[in-house]
Subunit: 611 residues, 2 copies
């Protein structure tokens, strides 16, 4: 069986022939980045084949790697299968350390200034001439008389000193010694960044000495048994203290599973994890910290708190160092959470003087506009259309989902994930398909599918047979039954288009109102940043065609990846960045769209398709 | 059955005829002070009979109350039995508020500046125009953006605000909100002061708004099953983490019983107790806080810590407000604990410019000398002789114990507790008896009982028949068999006198070395303060005669009562005083007697009796 040797980590594993190289990397306990779950669209899982043959470049590799990279041996690990012995160079990941600054377009070196501080100490032995108590002896050596100490650690200190020749290492957060360890452990300072999504929880384990991402893990948020959306979960938690505790326990258990996975991948000891920094929407924040979210649901949508909450890991039963700290970054309003704070941190909108907007699209859409020294945020009920939900033949982005549609002038070019026979339509496919229909003149600007019987001149001949009258209005056959997996047509209905229209209209209307509030025109925007998975998948041109975004030149529209998660990693490794996060609720103005008299009018206008 | 009506508390109870008035007071849930457990010797349980007849004054009352007091109706409640309806005025106790300053001899008003702060707030209702989060709304009203908040309290805040018309009270310690309560509860701020003795645990519940002592309760320290002395307990705790936890649980359980007793007496709710301040010797401190005491036992006697330790009540499972604070005052050295810190606080030795020594005598004796801007402390192994232990016919101070002996020139006047037939000798009786024997010329300065057969001229005729040769040397018949309870002679043996000599020699030698260290002579001392129960019971003249103390005029010797416990109460009600306590380990020099080359010589010299 083929062997794969990884450098510079010097790990060797044996795999079944044909094993996917990305899976092999994972099996070796190594981490390569990736946003597209191995679909070959994000281009992030680059590794270099130093020895051995990886086969010819796939289409995805040809698209996402430069000729120079391909000639040097770079491949996308998700695209390769191991057929013979390979030596693979895995680039050390410094996602939080060396990262693209979305606004500048450059690569910036992040200051690593973790909140956790470690010092190794060698104390003098006590004697009758020097009866200084153990703790005071230690603090004197540290020259820090201002420190307090965890009782648990103090309880063990006398034996620890005497069993280790008076050599110990202390871990300090703020003015508190949270851990005292035998010998010199200064090289072991770890932390975990969490992105607590309504649907998915992501965790990354970072080395706080150098901000390297050592491992990532994800899990479905098991609170989904109480409902897929935040309102259902708020309603459940509101039933009583037991229910709140129950729903909190769910997310804590999932976080602990992720922690255990991260520890297993890296062989790091749980006692050496000193901090957790988490982001999530305001409801997720309340439920993670066990705070009553009841009054988030009804108007006027009041959260229990905005500021960052901090507590000991043991209080939340999180399985890191018992005295480790957990910090949930601050939220801005009931529906603008610390995930948005993470987006601002990662994109540095708060530091940059350009006029830009960031849009994070999920079930809700959060928007932030930075201009003229102000930051204004709002949330819109985008609806789940972008995730393929409430769409007749919508599905999640997995094998067989129509993910790209292009109007070629004489027909549609359709791609599915994994090139499998089409099963349904995912979010990016939906936007592409509707944009292609607009391009082909099959939909008018009000969103109505044109009936070729009423307007035979408007509809190209080739599409006439694909438009048919159904119960709820016209339908367009995107994939005919003879090409689909099930043998049935895959269609886009008039209702589907209305769903998408409502979603994109809500986002665009939100942006328009933010611009109005800041007294800006659309063309004044230097950049629009698209955060989250959505931003990576959607084709800018299609987003422009359907009028999700204002009509700016496509280079002004930048996908910034999982900026919320990046923000939590950055706040984990840097005190300076964390302090910036703590200030944001004061600095970001929240605009409640429901109070705007002009919302309806702007919303109706924003429903229109382009052209 | 007679009824007793108490003013100003307006409580009425019905009692069995003949009920002791002190017990009736207790039964009514009222607290009167007392140091002698109802033996009529401390004079502290004064109450005033406003209506009704309490009977003639007893001997104790005649001795301890002035003629003016007697004519006004003041009685000692321990001396009275209720035979008819009475109206009793119980003075409101302000032990910590109005207290004798031992050094000045006056009465001082204590500044009440508790660490716990309460504020009642009425918040504005939120609206879509004012979506400020609940916590931020509250902090804004408080104008304290620096505060953090207990998660438990934040968790309940949204419902609490809405169920109470947005009127709440916050309790703050330092920069943390530890409690948020419905309505205005500013008048309810309570704390408990503990004196954790090796033998006895004492607790007092205080109103932190005015420093009134509302109730006191005591219990035997149940750690005694692991040994009566600190060394046995250290050895047990050193066996492992489980044993340490076990012995900690014992004292925590006892403290919780006292807390529950105090709450029952006062009807105060446990959630309204926000702080516990405790003092005790260094071993008791370690065991209460659950810190490994192992290295206190062997030389060089190193404690795990000196500073004050602070934690949440819930971490120690103490049944007050879950987020309430527990502070164990700092210790000075392995055998000079926070009880000595309490003595310094209560006597204000650290603030006063006079040259004085404080002596706290128990199983160990702790001494502090304050002079010329220095404070020096040491501990001596006084041995348990002063508690009647290791004395042939020694006993604790209870009914039948010989408690006072006086040489009248033609015999000994002997008193027993309760005037019961003599059963044995307690500590104060022992010192009195030996002093009387010295006065009568029955013991020479080296402590030897004179044998009348060898020196017939030195021994008064009346005592000759009471001196007899026994196995271990001479014995003196203090109470002949026909006067004792058992019919047997109650004797003082040569061995008993040696025990006392060793104990008093250790104390006196400690004091001599402190004086030598400070370059002072005995006559330079302005005051000697005797702390603890011992100081209340011992007759100064006898202490001088046996050479326990230097030969100063008796008015320089002042009993200051349970100064350690007073110190913990003072630190509970006053931030200023607590801060003084925190500084003391830095300010008090500790002198380890075992390192002194001159100790043996001074000790041998200190063994001598006076005259």
């Amino acid at each position: 069986m083929p062997q794969v040797f990884f450098i510079p980590q010097n790990k060797e594993i044996t795999v079944e022939p044909g094993t996917n190289l990305l899976k092999a990397t994972d099996q070796a306990g190594l981490y390569v980045e990736g946003d597209c779950a191995g679909k070959g669209t994000c281009g992030k899982c680059k590794v270099k084949i130093v020895k051995g043959d990886g086969g010819n470049p796939t289409k995805a590799e040809q698209k996402l790697l430069s000729d120079k990279e391909l000639s040097e041996g770079w491949v996308l690990s998700c695209q390769k299968r191991v057929k013979e012995d390979l030596t693979i160079e895995v680039p050390v990941q410094k996602a939080a350390y060396l990262r693209k600054t979305a606004l500048e377009g450059g690569v910036e070196k992040l200051d690593v200034d973790p909140v956790v501080e470690k010092k190794a100490l060698k104390l003098n032995r006590p004697s009758v001439k020097d009866q200084t108590a153990d703790l005071e002896r230690l603090l004197k050596k540290l020259d820090r008389n201002d420190l307090s100490v965890e009782l648990r650690e103090l309880a063990r200190l006398p034996a620890l000193l005497r069993n280790n020749n008076y050599s110990v290492t202390v871990a300090i957060i703020d003015n508190r010694i949270i851990s005292i360890e035998p010998g010199d452990t200064c090289d072991q300072i770890y932390g975990i960044a969490f992105d607590i999504g309504t649907t998915t929880i992501m965790g990354s384990l970072l080395d706080l000495n150098n901000a390297e991402v050592l491992a990532v893990a994800a899990a479905t948020n098991p609170q989904n048994i109480y409902g897929a959306d935040v309102i259902s979960r708020i309603n459940y938690a509101s039933e009583g203290e037991d229910e709140l505790k129950q729903i909190q326990n769910k997310v804590i258990e999932a976080a602990n599973e992720i922690i255990s996975d991260l520890l297993k991948q890296t062989k790091v000891a749980k006692d050496r994890i000193y901090e957790i920094v988490a982001v999530g929407n305001t409801t997720m924040s309340h439920l993670f910290m066990g705070i009553d979210p009841t009054y988030l649901a009804p108007a006027p949508f009041i959260p229990a708190y905005s500021r960052a909450l901090e507590t000991e890991a043991s209080e939340l039963n999180l399985n890191i160092n018992e005295a480790g700290r957990v910090i949930f970054l601050p939220n801005i309003a009931g529906y603008v959470g610390s995930d948005t704070v993470g987006v601002i941190l990662a994109t540095e909108m708060d530091l940059n003087s350009s006029q830009c907007a960031a849009i994070d699209i999920g079930t809700n859409g959060e928007l932030v506009l930075a201009a003229n020294g102000r930051m204004i945020a709002c949330s819109t009920a985008a609806g789940p259309a972008f995730e393929g939900a409430q769409i007749k033949q919508g599905m999640r982005a997995s094998a067989g989902a129509v993910e790209a549609v292009q109007y070629t002038g004489d027909g549609f070019k359709i791609s599915t994930i994994d090139d499998s026979p089409a099963k349904g339509i995912c979010g990016s496919g939906l936007i592409d398909a509707v944009a292609a229909m607009v391009d082909a003149g099959l939909i008018n600007t009000t969103g109505k599918i044109i009936n070729p019987e009423d307007n035979p001149d408007l509809v190209p001949e080739i599409f006439k047979s694909r438009l048919k009258q159904a119960e709820g209005g016209m339908e367009f056959i995107l994939v005919p039954g003879n090409e689909s997996e099930s043998g049935e047509d895959i269609v886009l209905s008039q209702g589907d288009i209305r769903e998408l229209q409502l979603a994109k209209g809500a986002i665009y209307a939100g942006l328009k109102i933010l611009l109005k509030e800041a007294d800006l025109k659309e063309e004044d925007l230097d950049k629009i940043l698209l955060a989250g998975a959505f931003g990576n998948y959607v084709r800018k041109e299609s987003a422009l065609t359907i009028g999700l975004l204002p009509q700016l030149s496509p280079e002004k529209i930048v996908a910034v990846g999982n900026a919320a998660g990046d923000g939590s990693r950055m706040a984990l490794v840097s005190k300076k960045i964390r302090d910036r996060a703590f200030q944001l609720p004061e600095l970001v103005e929240h605009l409640e769209l429901s109070t705007r008299q002009d919302f309806q009018e702007i919303f109706v206008d924003a429903l229109k398709f382009n052209q």
